[in-house]
């Protein structure tokens, strides 16, 4: 169908629920499939709209290649993407849910390190004394890189992490981390502390659209 609009929504957790509510509240009632684990859904009385549940990261990829016209995903994931993917996506609206901060965190007991300036000094110190680099574990290498470099921290090495990044400093995989946190509880419970000026990005869920489809959506999009 020529006028078909495909929307990607997060497939799990609170983000999924809030995204569904977002559409319901705007008079677009999301109809789940009868089969509980089916990845497709539709909107009541809108036969030209198809909804697909996907991993939040996947939503950004698929907006980039044009499989999706519209999607809801995190600003953090969008900003972390490679430039040529980012260029294909437009942020239509920042939403009032899914808020979380990407931050730099160090072990609690590094009491001498309170700010990025401290971190910069310690990084040089490690380099000078041991001829190795401060290791920063992260799921967000691109955002972490540009943040640290803009703050004058240059003597570090990124360690890419897929999950449980909070454990890295205590199992010898890295010295510090950057990670996304909404309440700070996980960091706190794992004896990590956010640096005073260690906020890399304030993220929220965003309504995103594929740039290629803007003109098509203008005439069809009810939101």
């Amino acid at each position: 169908m020529k006028n078909l609009i495909t929307i990607g929504l997060p497939s799990k957790g609170r983000l999924k629920d809030k995204a569904v509510t977002f559409f319901n509240d705007r008079g677009l009632k999301v109809l789940q499939s009868d089969k509980e684990r089916n990845y497709f859904a539709s909107i009541e009385n809108k036969s030209n709209i198809k909804i697909i549940y996907l991993h939040a990261k996947e939503i950004i990829q698929r907006l980039g290649d044009g499989t999706l016209d519209i999607g809801i995903s995190g600003l953090d994931l969008l900003n972390e993407s490679e430039k040529n993917l980012k260029d294909k996506i437009i942020i239509k609206k920042k939403l009032d849910f899914g808020g979380a901060n990407l931050v730099v965190a160090v072990p609690d007991d590094w009491i001498d390190v309170q700010t990025i300036a401290d971190l910069e000094e310690v990084a040089f110190d490690i380099r000078l004394r041991r001829n190795t680099r401060l290791r920063v574990a992260t799921k967000y290498p691109n955002l972490t890189n540009s943040f640290l470099i803009s703050k004058g921290v240059t003597q570090y090495k990124l360690i890419s992490s897929l999950g449980a990044t909070e454990t890295y400093p205590f199992i010898g995989s890295s010295e510090i981390i950057t990670d996304i946190t909404s309440t700070g509880k996980t960091l706190e419970d794992n004896n990590l502390r956010i640096l005073k000026d260690g906020l890399i990005l304030k993220s929220t869920a965003c309504l995103l659209i594929s740039k290629k489809r803007t003109s098509k959506l203008k005439s069809l999009l009810p939101i």
């Binding site: 430039k83 160090v106 072990p107 609690d108 007991d109 590094w110 009491i111 001498d112 309170q114 700010t115 990025i116 300036a117 401290d118 910069e120 000094e121 310690v122 040089f124 110190d125 490690i126 001829n131 190795t132 680099r133 290791r135 890189n145 640290l148 470099i149 004058g152 240059t154 003597q155 570090y156 090495k157 990124l158 400093p169 205590f170 010898g172 890295s174 010295e175 510090i176 005073k196």
Partner: protein, 345 residues
């Protein structure tokens, strides 16, 4: 092929001056380079994963590749190289492939003499290209260090300014902060004092995320004692800015430095350790000395120079005493070198 003929001529000059060929590897272990040169380097490397799962890169720079060869004891100490280096850039129209032709003295024992040898050899080569319109610009990062160390400000600030001298943009930010006397680190310690005393009772060898308790406590202690604020920021920034404006003929350098010291109320003997620069008078050529120069390459530690023909930079070089150790050499190996930029000829 004009450039082939030219590079043959240059190589001939290198050989005549006692440099022998080194052929650095084209493929290098990229983790090794990142570990040593920093994460920022990753963006400019062309990498691939080999069959063993190792991430390899095409050599991004021939100086670095030649140093690695030397550390592996596979080259002599006085070498020249001729080949291509491969770097990626986001800028449009930026070449991936760079022809590099250069010399290095690795394990340089006589600093003044070797610095002279390198610049003289490069000049001899440049003269083969164009004898008339050669311009020489020089500087020495040690002069900046001497200046900073003679100024009355907290140690923390001195180290910061020296560390970031090679990053002009961030350096400027630092100066602005210093000018306003806003320390980038003016945090109080009250909350952590309690933990400080608890930690004092712990085993000082214990590691927390790779740092020993003694290391952490020592730095904490130093931080508390180091003055947080001082009121001379504005004055000091003025001195630094005026220093970075020094741009004169080499023959007038002594006079200029003396005037600068006098004007800034500094002792006249603060500038030491720039024999290599003084020694360039032997070249009997017009040399310009510029303090705000050679600030884009992190690894230079002393004397730096650039050679221009008709406003085009055709060669640059300098002393880099820390690079070999940072690339994995067991001890300090002082070195000096330079490369000719064939693309600008």
């Amino acid at each position: 092929m004009k450039s082939k003929k030219l590079s043959d001529q240059i190589v001939k000059t290198f050989k005549k001056n006692g440099f022998s060929l080194s052929e650095p590897d084209v493929l290098l272990d990229s983790e090794y380079i990142i570990q040593r040169s920093g994460e920022n380097f990753r963006r400019s490397m062309l990498t691939f994963e080999n069959e063993d799962g190792k991430i390899m890169c095409l050599r991004p720079d021939l100086t670095v590749a030649a140093c690695i060869k030397f550390i592996e004891k596979k080259s002599k100490s006085k070498i020249y190289y001729s080949g291509q280096a491969y770097r990626r850039s986001n800028k449009q129209g930026f070449d991936l492939v760079h022809d590099q032709l250069g010399i290095e003295i690795l394990g340089s024992k006589n600093k003044t003499q070797d610095d002279y040898k390198v610049i003289k050899t490069i000049l001899d080569s440049a003269e083969k290209i164009n004898n008339k319109k050669i311009q020489i610009k020089v500087s020495d990062i040690n002069l900046f260090k001497s200046l900073i160390n003679s100024l009355d400000m907290p140690e923390r600030w001195k180290l910061r300014l020296i560390r970031h001298f090679w990053r002009p943009k961030y350096f400027e930010e630092l100066l602005k902060r210093l000018e306003k006397n806003t320390d980038i680190d003016s945090i109080t310690f009250d909350t952590d004092k309690k933990r400080f005393y608890e930690m004092k009772k712990m085993n000082s060898e214990k590691l927390i995320a790779g740092r020993s308790i003694s290391e952490i406590l020592k730095r904490f202690d130093k931080k508390i004692k180091d003055p947080r604020s001082f009121d001379k920021g504005k004055q000091i920034v003025k001195i630094i800015r005026s220093f970075l404006k020094i741009n004169c003929k080499l023959s007038k350098l002594d006079e200029n430095l003396l005037n600068f010291a006098k004007k800034s109320n500094l002792k006249k003997n603060i500038f030491k350790d720039f024999d290599s620069i003084q020694n360039l008078k032997r070249l009997k050529k017009e040399v310009n000395f510029i303090t705000n120069f050679g600030r884009d390459v992190e690894y230079y530690t002393g004397f730096v120079f650039e050679i221009f023909i008709e406003k085009k930079e055709i060669a640059r070089g300098g002393r880099y005493d820390g690079l070999l150790k940072s690339l994995g050499a067991k001890k300090d190996i002082p070195a000096v070198g330079a490369a000719i930029n064939l693309n600008n000829i």
